[in-house]
Every structure is written in C-alpha cells, then in structure tokens.
C-alpha cells in the first residue's frame, strides 16, 4: 500500500471524476467529491510523512524502469506541494456545497464537481511525476478543467475570461512542449533525474539554451509571473467563488513547483549562472510586487483586488527564487504554503459575502462588518497575514525573504519587499474600512452572518494562518529540507549580480 500512494493520489480522483459526473443531481456528487478529497489529503500527508522519514520515494509506473518508463519520484519538495494541493482541496470542499449551489446552475453541479476532481488530478499529477512530458499532460488536464471551471461563473465575463485564459494557457503549454522537445532532441530522455545527469555535458549547446527559454516562458505564463499575468485577474474575478479559492491557492503554486524543479533539479547551476535567469526573476518579482500592488489599490471589485494581490505575492516567490540561495528557496517555499493559506481564506471570506449579498463590489459592502462579524474577523486576520504582521504566517515568509535578501545585500529588493507590505496595508485597509467604518447601506440592513458551513472552513484557514505564524516547525522545517533537496547553490558567485 505504502508504495502505491503516489500513484493512488493521481488515480483516485481521476477515476472518481467521470463517476461523479453521472451521479444524480442533488448533494450526492458533492459528498462523493468530499470523500475523495479527504482521502487524497490523508494520502498526501502520509506521503509527506514517509518522505521525511524514509527519504525519496521512487515509483515505476507499470513496472517500466526509468529512464524509459515514467517514474513518479517524490521528495520533500513535491510531497509538500502535493500536501498543499490536497489539503486546500479538502478544506475547500465543505465550503463548496453552499457556495456552489448559490453560484452555479443546478444542472451543472455534477459536472462542476467532476471538473474539480479532474483539476485536482492534474495538479496532483504534476507534483508526483518525475517525467517532463508527463508534466505537460497533467498541466493540460488541470488547465483544461480549470478553463471549464472558470466558465461556470455567473457573469458572462466568465466566458471571455475563460477564453482568454484558454488562449494564453495553451500558448504557455505549447511553449513548454517546444522546450521539452528541443531538450529531448539533444538528450533523448524525459526523465528529470536522467536529464540532470546528462545536461551538464550539453549545457553549451544552443538548442539546450533555446529549449530552456521556451520552457521558462511556458511555465511563467502558467504561474502568472509578471508581466505574463494578464489572464489571472479576470479569471479569478469572474470564476465562481469556490473555484477562485481553489485555483488561487493551488494552481499557480503547482506551476511554481515545476519552475523550481526545472531550475534546480534539471538544469545545472553553471548553466543558469551563464544566463540572466536569476536577474530576470528578481526584476520580474520586484515589478510584480510594486505594480500589481498598485493596481490592487485601485480596484473596486474585491475579487479583482485580491487577484492583483496574488500577482504581487507571486512576485515575492519569484524574488525568493531569484536569490537562488537556500534561504531564498526556503522563503519561496514557505511563502508558497503561507500564501495558499491566506489567499484561500480571503477568497473564502469574499465568497461568503457574495453568498449573502450577491456582489463583491466595494460600494456594495459598506458596513457589512457589523452584520457579518465572523467573516469580517476572518478578513482582518487573513489580511494582516497578507501584510505580514508578526504573529501571522505571512510574517514568517516575509522574514525569511528579507533575511535571504540581506544575505546577498540586495538592498533594493529589501526596500521593495517592505514597500510591498506598505502597499498591502493600503489595499487591505481600504477593504476593512469599507466593511467596518462606512455606515451600513439600507440594502444591507437585513444581511445576516454567513452560514456555518462557509464559516467553519474559513476559520480553519484563519486559525492555520495564526498557527503557522507561531509554530513553523512544519512549514519552515519542510521547506528547508526541500531547499536542500533542490541542492542550491553557491551564493558567493552570484551575489555580485544582485548587488547592483
């Protein structure tokens, strides 16, 4: 049993997806999905536990030995990301019941859960596989299902956003495919470990460079790295609330995971240092933090505000990657985890508001804080976490990120990170002010607190935000281990690059 966990994580939701689709309407599809996601969460956590205790797990699909067969290879990095994905799915699902009934047409609900499971399959698959082409396949499974999920939104803009995302996402995936093809043409293998062995010899080839560039741009599109983020704000804004919660917390995170894999496992360090990769990460990260945060300040739609904030937060992670030190990677991984917690909580809270008043526009939420104190409290705490107030999870990731920057004496980055926090103060402050300090509008007088089924998952996440701000043995411990696995890198040789 233990050996098959990595496969089961992918296969169980995959098999469940078509079954859920044909279940009768009503709450049965939800229940089935709920059970599946909980099984996945349990499997993912036991997998992480096994990896931490026994080291790397290698699973040969169908008994074909790598590098010919597909290998699932689990170390601390992907075990962590898989746990994030599965856990967020499991927390989202109880929330999904009411929120989906409210926002998605009755007859599409079984299909919604089916697509949700497919998306979960794809995301978990990406984290499990050790084969580059397999990554592409799972990437497309998750992307296609998320296009469908987004298009279920209530407004017709959901359709155009999904379409826009489809075009951008497919271009990204195809770029990735081109890159993989070019690398394959030189190495003849798709297995990540095998590639890591072969590539140092071939690093001078132009084809490898080209392939690398294609892969990078492809993934950067998927993870909405600035300035390739254009699909994200609309997609998150117009998708149903549940979908936004799930995607915001997982989809980009998984893309970041592939990015880390490609950079640190597959490609040799010397190769990366010969390219401007890290500089690009740092520049893109800084631009994302500042520009996307400023965009966020001027949004009047709360979901869009949070979506732009996501772009900015991805910028922090890009910065961490760009530092290319073990501290930087630790920071990036910790923030990956923590940002999933806080953004999921925030989007859930907004979903609860939409559940009650059917809108998430700034001008419609005036004074709701008094009507919905629990939802409001959740927004405050998750918002503080987003800003990075000590005592919350957000502070821990910022702390590690800034120490990573200080280590390289990258003063501009330090300034940008702290400035980004200030901008977050402004946009979260705007939200809180509208919710609490503006007088209640007449139409909101009779609004009640969101139902318990929405509040419980929300507060589970909020408590997690505080818990992981005080006890970081899980997050930081695993992230440090993961950074070791990724095996980074001498900091001295690149500190000169950062220090300009």
């Amino acid at each position: 049993m233990g050996n098959h966990i990595s496969l089961l994580l992918v296969v169980i939701p995959l098999i469940a997806a078509p079954i859920v689709a044909v279940l009768p309407r009503g709450r049965l599809p939800w229940l089935a999905t709920l059970i599946i996601t909980f099984i996945c969460a349990v499997l993912a956590s036991s997998q992480l536990w096994m990896v931490l205790n026994d080291g790397v797990i290698s699973y040969e699909l169908g008994g074909w030995a790598p590098p010919w067969g597909i290998e699932y290879r689990i170390d601390a990095v992907n075990a962590l990301v898989a746990l994030i994905v599965a856990a967020i799915a499991a927390i989202t699902l109880p929330y999904a019941l009411l929120s989906a009934e409210k926002e998605i047409p009755q007859q599409q609900i079984p299909l919604f859960y089916s697509a949700f499971l497919l998306c979960l399959t794809g995301l978990l698959g990406i984290t499990q596989t050790g084969d580059l082409f397999n990554v592409f396949v799972f990437l497309e499974i998750s992307s296609l299902s998320s296009y469908a999920l987004i298009s279920l939104g209530r407004n017709r803009q959901a359709l155009t956003s999904a379409y826009q995302y489809l075009i951008m996402g497919t271009i990204g995936a195809t770029f990735f495919l081109i890159g993989v093809g070019l690398i394959y043409s030189q190495t003849g293998t798709l297995n990540m470990q095998d590639l890591a062995k072969l590539l140092p010899e071939l690093a001078h080839l132009k084809t490898v460079h080209t392939g690398f560039a294609f892969i990078m741009i492809g993934i950067a599109l998927k993870l909405a790295m600035y300035p390739l983020h254009l699909w994200l704000p609309n997609a998150y804004t117009y998708a149903p609330s549940v979908v936004t919660v799930f995607l915001a917390a997982t989809a980009t995170k998984v893309a970041i995971y592939i990015m880390l894999r490609v950079l640190f496992t597959i490609f040799p360090n010397d190769f990366l240092l010969a390219t401007p990769t890290y500089d690009i990460f740092i520049l893109s990260g800084m631009a994302a933090i500042i520009i996307a945060s400023i965009y966020a300040i001027y949004q009047s739609n709360i979901k869009k505000l949070l979506a732009y904030s996501s772009v900015a937060q991805i910028g922090y992670i890009a910065l961490g990657i760009g530092f290319a030190s073990s501290k930087g990677i630790t920071a990036a991984l910790v923030h990956l985890f923590n940002h999933a917690l806080m953004k999921a909580a925030l989007f859930m809270a907004v979903g609860a508001i939409i559940y009650r008043i059917g809108s998430c526009n700034m001008k419609n939420i005036n004074g709701l804080g008094k009507q919905m104190p629990w939802t409001f409290g959740a927004i405050v705490i998750a918002g503080l976490s987003l800003i990075g107030i000590p005592g919350t999870a957000g502070f821990i990731s910022k702390w590690y990120l800034v120490t990573a920057a200080l280590e390289q004496q990258a003063w501009i980055s330090v300034a940008v990170i702290l400035f980004g926090s200030l901008l977050a103060v402004i946009y979260i402050g705007k939200l809180i002010e509208a919710l609490y300090f503006k007088p209640v509008t007449d139409s909101n007088q009779s609004v009640q607190e969101a139902p318990l089924l929405l509040l419980v998952p929300l507060w589970v996440l909020v408590c997690a935000n505080i818990y992981f701000g005080l006890d970081t043995s899980l997050t930081v411990g695993v992230a440090e281990k993961a950074a070791d696995v990724l095996g980074v890198i001498n900091t001295s040789s690149i500190s000169g690059v950062m220090n300009k």
Partner: protein, 488 residues
C-alpha cells in the same frame, strides 16, 4: 503566585477582562464593574511584581519559538518594570475617569471602547515585558491595530481621516523602517535578545551603526519624532480618555520605551558613547522639541495643543536616550513616568472641560476657573510639572536630562532644554491663568456651569497629587531607572 504565572497573569488579565466586557455588553453596570475589577487586579499584580523584582527575583517565560533563535518570550527588567508600573496604575485611574466621561458624554459603542482599551493595555504590558526585539515588535504592531478602533471611535469622516493617518504612519514606519532595522540587527548580531551592554558592539561598523540607529529612531513611529509625528495630533479625534491614557501614556510611551530598550539593550550605551553613533541624530530630537513646542503655541484647540506638547516632551526622552550617558538615560527613564502623570492630568482636565462645557478651544476658557476650580487647579499643577518646576516630579527628570547634556559636554543641548522650558511656560501656563483671572467673553461669570462628574474629578485629583508625591518621593522610580541604566 510563581513569577512566570505573574507575568502571564498581568498580560492575560486585560484580555480576559476584554471577553468579560464583551459578554456583559448589555449590562453597562456589570461591564464597568468588570473593567474596574480587572484594572484593579492588574494594578495590584504589577505592584506586587515590582516589589518582588526589587527583592531581586528573576522573571522570565518563553511562549513559543516560531523561528529558531527567535522566540516570543517575556522577561522582567528594570525599565520594563518601570513602564509597566506606570501603565498599570494609570489604567486603573483612567478606567475610573472614563466611566464618568463616557456616561457624561453619552458616547455610542461603549462596549467596543472598553474592549479595545483592555486589549491595548494587554499589548502595552506585553511590550513592557518583552524579552527580545521580536516579541516587542509583535506587540508593538498589535497595539497599533487595537487602538485603531479607539481612534476612529466617533465614526465621523474626520475620525476616519484621523484613523487613516494614524494607521498609515504607524504601520508605514514600523514596517518600512523598524522591521528593516530589526532584520538588519538579526542579520548582524544573530540574536534579538535584550542584553545588558547591547548585542551589536564589535559586530557593526560605527558608521553603519549610525544608519541602523536612524532606522530605529524614525522607524519607531510611536516615539513621534519629526517628521513622523503627524499621527499623534491626528489621533486626537479619539474620545479624551483614549487621548489621555493611550496618547499620553501607553502608545507614545511604548514608542520611547522601545527606543530606550534599543539604545540600552541592543546598542549598549558604551558602544554608542565610544563611537558617537547618535551625534548627528540627536539634533533631530532637539529640533523636534523646539518645533513641536512652537507649533503647540499656535494651536487654539486644547487637545491639539496638548498633543504637540506631547510630541515635544517625547523628544526629551528620545534625546535622553541618544545622549546615552548615565544621567541622560536616567532622565529619559524617569521622564517616562513623570511626563505620564502630568500629561494624563492635563488630558483629564481637557476632557472634564469638554464634558462640562463642550468647549474645545483655549480661547473659550476665559473665566472658567471659578466654575471649575478643581479641574483647573489640577491642570495648573500638571502644567508646573511639565515645565519642570519644584515641588513637582517633572523637575527630577529634567534635572537628569540637563545633567546628561552637561556630562557629555553638549552645551548647545542644555540651551535647547532651557529654551524649551520657556516655551512650555508660554504655551501651557496661560491656560490656567486665563481661566482663573480673565473675564468670560460674555462679561459675566459662569453660573450654569459646574464641575464634571465626580469620577472624573477623582481621577484628576489622584494624578495631580501623584505629581507632587513624585517630587518628594521619587525613590522607587529612581531605583528602577538606576537599575535600567546598569548602575547599582
């Protein structure tokens, strides 16, 4: 009670009080009783802690360790003890006062007011007992956030604007500069624990140390050094008890207290003195003292005038910290207490005037002295203490500050201190004098105006008498301040 439990009890009691206040929100009498009981208990505990501490007991407790080497931990040391003592005692007095004020003024949302107030005190106590800079920062930020609802209490546009300035400057400076300073310290020293003699000496080039000190000086926005002082006048939109306790005692003193802690336990006074780290920065404090006093003279709104006076007085403490000599630090530590008692009396009086007459402007106070003799007598005593005249407590701290300036040979600073005292006289003394000796604008004496509610008077009497007592009996403060500055 064992020592660890005592610290935790002092920090947690206001928190429990807060829940008690919230649950009894529909019964104002029970709610106020909860506030008073909690405040009295805290006061008793703080005093007993102080007695045990003076007996030489050690108190330390660690709560959690989020990042290896960085813990949320509490430890009692002299400076923190002094600060906790001031805050704990004054909370009790302010509680008595605010019941009269809130009822006399028929404020809305009183439950939120008392609850946020208790939370703010809890944070203040936690700051006072912080064992390292990380813990201190954590509660420093929580204090900012918990006082935000108090500042915006009125809910008007003006209050919201004030609240925005308040939050913007305090969070902005703390995240942008203070946190950066903490991170750099952590990076350089590898620890953030407060240690006698500092943790930075020998690890940091003095030139960089000056820069780092500047990060702390400006980053600790609660110390209201110019140009980051704007939040304090903005916060005056809050109800007067808030201005009294938080913006004369808790919040602002947390600022200067933090600066003193950083000076003594992070930099170390020897390190500062031997390398002249604060040589240039000290003039920022001197300038703040003078400018703020001058601005205070132009303000006709009584609370605004007091706010600018606070800005100026805070810089006394900052100045003392930056002198870093023994006398300077002594003066700064004692001024935390002396200024607290005097300034809270002034705010109490301002609130009493407002409740009784609804007057906010200095120019409207002519002739009110006869109608409200107790209020204005208290105001007068506190004024003298602020100016630093005997027989009032304020004299001692100014004495040591002046001594510190002389000791370090900064004669120009002595001149600044003296000039500032003259300015104090110019902007504060006319208020009681006009109240007692001028005729009201209408020409006839007030007959319809009487003193404010009794609880408010009681609070004022207690604090103004304390100002006098502290002149004759400054011994506990003196001992704690001596301990804090490393003497025996």
């Amino acid at each position: 009670m064992n020592p660890e439990a005592l610290i935790l009890a002092i920090i947690l009691l206001p928190l429990f009080g807060m829940f008690g206040i919230i649950t009894s929100r529909n019964h104002p009498n029970i709610r106020e009783a909860v506030t008073l009981i909690t405040a009295s208990l805290v006061a008793i505990l703080v005093v007993s802690l102080a007695i045990q501490f003076m007996d030489g007991n050690d108190f330390a407790v660690t709560i959690a360790e989020p990042i290896p080497g960085l813990s949320i931990a509490f430890k009692v040391e002299a400076l923190g003890m002094l600060f906790a003592l001031v805050a704990g005692l004054l909370w009790l007095v302010t509680s008595i006062y605010s019941i009269g004020y809130m009822r006399g003024h028929k404020e809305k949302n009183q439950t939120r007011f008392y609850a946020a107030f208790a939370l703010a005190i809890s944070c203040t106590m936690a700051v006072a007992f912080s064992a390292n800079l990380f813990t201190l920062f954590l509660f420093y930020e929580l204090l900012t956030l918990s006082t935000y609802p108090l500042v915006t209490h009125a809910g008007t546009d003006e209050a919201r604007r004030g609240g925005r300035t308040y939050l913007g400057i305090l969070l902005g400076t703390s995240i942008g500069l203070f946190l950066l300073g903490i991170l750099v310290t952590w990076f350089v020293a590898g620890t953030l624990d407060f240690q006698q003699g500092g943790i930075l000496a020998g690890k940091l080039d003095p030139a960089w140390a000056g820069l780092l000190y500047a990060l702390f000086l400006f980053g600790i926005g609660k110390a209201a050094i110019m140009p980051f002082h704007r939040w304090l006048p903005a916060a005056m939109v809050a109800p007067t008890p808030v201005s009294a306790l938080l913006h004369a005692v808790a919040v602002v003193k947390v600022g200067v207290f933090t600066l003193l802690k950083v000076t003594i336990y992070i930099f170390g006074s020897d390190f500062i003195l031997s390398n002249d780290i604060t040589g240039g920065l000290i003039w920022v404090a001197a300038a703040t003292i003078l400018f703020a006093s001058m601005i205070a003279m132009t303000k006709d709104n009584l609370k605004a005038r007091l706010a600018y006076s606070t800005v100026s007085q805070l810089s006394y403490i900052t100045l003392g910290a930056m002198l870093a000599s023994k006398a300077g630090l002594m003066g700064a530590s004692m001024h935390i207490a002396m200024h607290a008692f005097a300034k809270i009396t002034l705010f109490f009086a301002a609130g009493a005037i407002f409740v009784a007459t609804h007057k906010k402007l200095v120019s409207e106070l002519d002739g009110l002295g006869r109608a409200m003799p107790i209020t204005f007598t208290a105001f007068f005593i506190a004024t003298l203490s602020i100016i630093g005249l005997p027989p009032l407590g304020g004299m001692w701290s100014k004495w040591y500050l002046g001594l510190g300036a002389v000791e370090t040979g900064q004669l120009l600073l002595v001149a600044v201190l003296m000039l500032s005292s003259l300015l104090n006289i110019a902007y504060l003394l006319p208020i009681p004098i006009r109240a007692f000796f001028s005729k009201p604008a209408s020409g006839s004496h007030y007959t319809e105006i009487t003193e404010a509610p009794k609880t408010m008077l009681l609070a004022m009497i207690i604090t103004s008498i304390t100002c006098v007592i502290l002149f004759f009996y400054p011994d506990p403060l003196y001992q704690l301040a001596t301990l804090a500055t490393g003497g025996s």
